[in-house]
Subunit: 112 residues, 2 copies
DNA sequence: TATTTATATAAGTAGTCATTTATATTGATG
DNA sequence: CATCAATATAAATGACTACTTATATAAATA
């Protein structure tokens, strides 16, 4: 697998608010699935799904204790990376996602 | 817009090999669309599409010179961020994208 | 002004992924 | 062993987006 594809993969894994929230909630702790569910507005199966995605990418690891499964960050440095991103990425208003919001035709005088 | 949503947005923008390759090709230079097309295996409209996504997120900015439009990185620090990511992210084999590859049922003895 | 080159936009399509709903598995305990 | 609580999986669906093909715009030049 090419380096740029690995990058792409991880960006994709991280490009989901729910997964980001889970990562930030787990933080440096060990959190059971039910804790994560309670903390979030997601259904339990949805949380499990996202945890699986994170685990498949080795961003979290698990530890069973009786009926509970605890998740923790494989490498808490991921939190620093997120922090870096928040700092360094442009803070200008985003043109509505991928499809820009309606605007007049270009000959009206905007800069496109 | 919540901070975590901004994060998500940028991760999504970066979660595409073609866009990553464009960013890395532009590097610290000014590159015309046609240069980028030649350097890649993409069609011209596809390149334009990706450039628009990058521009909408203020990751690149443009400069017209006659018939040419030159794109450059708004902030070359993005290159450092990508470098950091490559270094810091886990290098274990990824379980095939989001859907894990076939494996035996769990009672066969694997660790799920 | 007609033509050519460089770039952007539009519409359509296929594939992917987040989410929901329903069900299965696993471990503990009565 | 039956039941309950915790978690995982499966199937179905809707939304989104990368990509293609076709066309439009914009600048330069004949």
């Amino acid at each position: 697998m090419e380096e740029v594809e690995r990058l792409q993969h991880y960006f994709q894994v991280l490009s989901d608010v729910n997964r980001l929230r889970i990562i930030k909630f787990i933080d440096k702790e060990k959190r059971s699935v039910s804790e994560i569910v309670k903390n979030s507005s997601m259904s339990q199966p949805l949380v499990s799904h996202h945890l699986k995605v994170l685990k498949n990418s080795h961003l979290v690891e698990t530890q069973r204790e009786g009926p509970f499964v605890f998740y923790q960050l494989t490498n808490p440095k991921i939190l620093d990376i997120l922090g870096l991103f928040e700092e360094m990425l442009p803070k200008e208003n985003l043109v509505s996602d991928f499809s820009p919001m309606f605007c007049c035709p270009s000959w009206w005088g905007n800069s496109n």
